[in-house]
């Protein structure tokens, strides 16, 4: 199809003789166009139609006659546009359509008009109405000087074609954006159409309703919505360089995302994590969005040397925007606040409200990541931090920088401490009691004031490990006096190798899991009470944590009839139990802690939740009295009444994320932006 229409266009510049020899092509062209190209029937048809038209004119039906052939031509053109455009978004069709208009209907009209004797010379074809299609001087193959009527026809036909194609593409804009960037040609076509028709509001309305219907539904994952949002920005900014309509189109998505609990987390992951789960194909695999934006910016800087920004383009857009009779949603003032270009990152941050929240979330995620490292490799984190600094400013990222510095410092300190082992120090090097060398202990040493709050659990580590820790501390103080270490015993990672009679299994676990399993070396059976006492944790916590080992087939659980307590026993031999999951020799890596879905670092949400719970009663009371309230009304009421103990100082976004927490706990419900008590 595309190739064929291309032919049509390519032949545009040929003279008529050659063109006339072209065989009829598509079905549509066969019916009408074919006749035009046949050498004899061509003029015969024109003559016949011409006669009819002249007769009708003679009878006083001038406009009726013109309506008749006009509507036939428009119908034909519409079918042709649909035919050429189809659902293929990966090739541009505008040129083919223009070529076809030249080759078929204009040829016919030229013949008809000259038969009717309507044509007279048109002196300056470039003056007056100028179609933006005609970037080159209008050429009418085989027509030396087009008549004014013919020029008008050309404009009419082209406008109609542009509008038809534009409507087609707007109706499929959602799919086109899903297909972005492969669908760039369709976007380019749409851009040209809109520049000609000025019907941008159509796009805004239609696309927003498509978004509501297809994307902003409970079934869509937050990640998918975010990726579609980014694709939308990327795709539409080619059409809308000033970001005027993007502002309007993006608002429903942002509004919707603000109601989702995991939005900030997903945004941070999308921005900073190249390996992140989404394979939606934005950018290269393994490339974070931040990395992609950065590269784009560098490219733009390079090309900016040639020509900064096409201000004409922007002006044209703002003018086009102000044409709109219904600028409620697409308020040009709102969008044109001096951006030189559409700022993707800004539009993403705009979902959350402030960059501080985003930075806080990143800090929590970074802390989690760093504390779960079993080595000191932070290359990718350093890179990400550099990018974040570029976009959010160095001072915003200060704490994160210190966290990374801690890792670098820890690595150096760790090897310095190991180096003291060889040297004769005042105390003996290897702790004699256990006979274990410090080689099997590494440590991450943090500047806790700069890290997010970390949950500490008093945990009794196995004696030999405790011995190692105090040995390490002592050496630390020796080289870094007057500084000392405070162990966070529940944090860190342990690589374990368990050797049994018949198998050998490896694990990567949290200290608590290691502490539990190591108790089974001396004593292969424990009641949960006794085990809890030895580990130093509540019984229910131990019962929960030991599930990890039960699920691995390392520990078996029974009920002890005497004490009516859970009884845990080491599975010495796999043949003792029906084969469980732990295959001998395989290397299982699992960062325990993940299985419970919560790490030791208090999430931003938890922190906020803690601070907000005092207002919960107040909010519930408010909603009991008022029935339902919009977000900003709740916000303003809190501001008005909670002036002391403690003063309500949360942002609208923070309130919203707290409320969506209450919604997911089914305490509240939200409908059309109104919150009310869940019945």
């Amino acid at each position: 199809m595309a190739g064929e229409s291309k032919d049509c266009y390519d032949k545009d510049d040929m003279d008529v003789d050659e063109k006339d020899k072209m065989p009829p092509k598509s079905g549509v062209m066969d019916i009408d166009g074919g006749h035009l190209h046949g050498e004899r029937s061509d003029s015969k048809l024109v003559k016949n139609i011409g006669k009819v038209v002249r007769d009708l004119r003679g009878l006083g039906f001038t406009s009726m006659a013109e309506d008749a052939y006009a509507s036939a031509i428009f119908l034909l053109l519409k079918a042709k546009v649909h035919d050429l455009a189809g659902d293929d978004f990966r090739t541009s069709v505008l040129e083919s359509i223009k070529g076809w208009i030249q080759a078929v209907p204009l040829q016919f009209l030229h013949a008809l008009l000259s038969y009717l004797g309507d044509s007279f010379n048109y002196d300056s074809p470039s003056s007056g109405l100028k179609s933006p299609l005609a970037s080159r001087p209008p050429s009418y193959p085989g027509i030396d000087a087009p008549s004014e009527a013919l020029v008008r026809w050309k404009l009419r036909l082209e406008y109609f074609a542009y509008e038809t194609l534009q409507d087609l593409r707007i109706a499929k804009l959602f799919e086109i954006i899903v297909d972005y960037p492969e669908s760039t040609p369709a976007i380019e076509d749409l851009k040209q159409c809109l520049e000609y028709t000025g019907q941008h509001s159509k796009l805004v309305e239609s696309f927003i309703s498509a978004l509501r219907y297809r994307l902003l539904t409970a079934g869509a994952s937050t990640n998918d919505i975010l990726h579609q949002y980014v694709s939308t920005i990327k795709a539409l900014r080619t059409i809308d360089t000033a970001g005027v309509f993007l502002e309007a189109v993006g608002e429903p998505i942002r509004e919707y995302l603000r109601g989702r609990k995991d939005t900030i987390k997903c945004i941070v992951t999308m921005l900073t994590d190249g390996t992140g789960g989404n394979s939606n194909g934005t950018g290269n695999a393994g490339d974070s969005l931040l990395e992609e934006l950065n590269r784009e910016e560098e490219n733009q800087e390079n090309s900016a040397l040639e020509d900064g920004f096409n201000t004409d383009d922007k002006q044209a857009w703002i003018t086009a925007a102000s044409w709109e009779p219904d600028p409620v949603e697409a308020d040009p003032l709102k969008g044109s606040r001096n951006h030189r270009k559409v700022d993707i990152l800004g539009m993403i941050v705009g979902i959350i409200g402030s960059k501080d929240q985003l930075v806080n979330e990143y800090r929590v995620m970074l802390a989690e990541k760093l504390l779960n490292k079993s080595d000191y490799d932070i290359e990718s984190e350093i890179r990400t931090l550099e990018l974040l600094k570029i976009h959010f400013g160095e001072s915003s990222m200060q704490k994160c920088e210190i966290m990374l510095n801690d890792l670098i410092d820890s690595k150096r300190t760790n090897s310095n401490i190991k180096a003291t082992i060889g040297q004769a120090s005042q105390t003996s090097t290897v702790s004699e009691d256990s006979g274990i060398s410090l080689d099997i202990l590494d440590a991450t040493i943090i500047s806790s004031n700069f890290w997010p709050p970390i949950q500490e659990e008093a945990l009794n580590l196995p004696g030999p490990v405790d011995q190692l820790l105090s040995d390490y501390s002592r050496r630390y103080t020796e080289i870094r006096t007057p500084r000392k270490l405070l162990w966070k015993k529940n944090l860190g990672t342990v690589k374990l190798e368990l050797q049994f009679e018949d198998r050998e299994v490896q694990f990567m676990v949290a200290p608590v899991h290691a502490a539990i399993i190591m108790q089974f070396q001396d004593q292969t059976s424990w009641t949960s009470k006794k085990l809890a006492a030895v580990i130093g944790l509540p019984v229910d916590v131990v019962n929960r944590k030991i599930n990890f080992w039960i699920s691995k087939g390392i520990i078996a659980e029974t009920m002890d009839p005497e004490s009516d307590d859970h009884m845990f026993t080491l599975v010495e031999n796999t043949s003792d139990v029906n084969k469980n999951s732990g295959d001998g020799g395989s290397c299982e890596e699992l960062l325990a802690g993940d299985e419970e879905g919560e790490g030791p670092v208090a999430s931003v949400e938890d922190q906020l939740r803690k601070e907000m719970t005092i207002y919960e009663k107040f909010i519930m009371g408010m909603l009991t009295n008022f029935g339902s309230m919009a977000l900003d009304r709740i916000h303003n009421t809190l501001k008005m009444f909670c002036v002391a103990d403690p003063t309500y100082d949360k942002s609208l976004q923070q309130l919203q994320s707290f409320l969506s927490g209450l919604v997911s706990e089914e305490k509240l419900e939200v409908r059309d932006g109104m919150y009310s008590l869940k019945k």
Binding site: K373, L469, T481, P482, L485, F500, Q506, M518, Q521
Partner: protein, 100 residues
Amino acid sequence: MWLLSGDAVVCLELACEDCISFLWHAVASWTWDAQDETCGICRMAFDGCCPDCKLPGDDCPLIWGSCNHAFHLHCILKWVNSQTSQAHCPMCRREWQFKE
């Protein structure tokens, strides 16, 4: 297979049948070994840094006076330099001397 650096794998019990070996990566926070938590001059946490510094720890160390009061080094230096005559400890008013 398992990456244990050779001799780093140690058995907890000699000649045990069921045996566990491990590599432990622990987490600690560092702290200045001082009686107080905050600097009496700038009121900032010792484990943080003074208002003029960005990095805690070695970049913004503590210093003790002979009276055993500790301050951020940068804070007490500023204090000492601002005094026209002999400086006194901002906490106990004793004559300020750096602890040897």
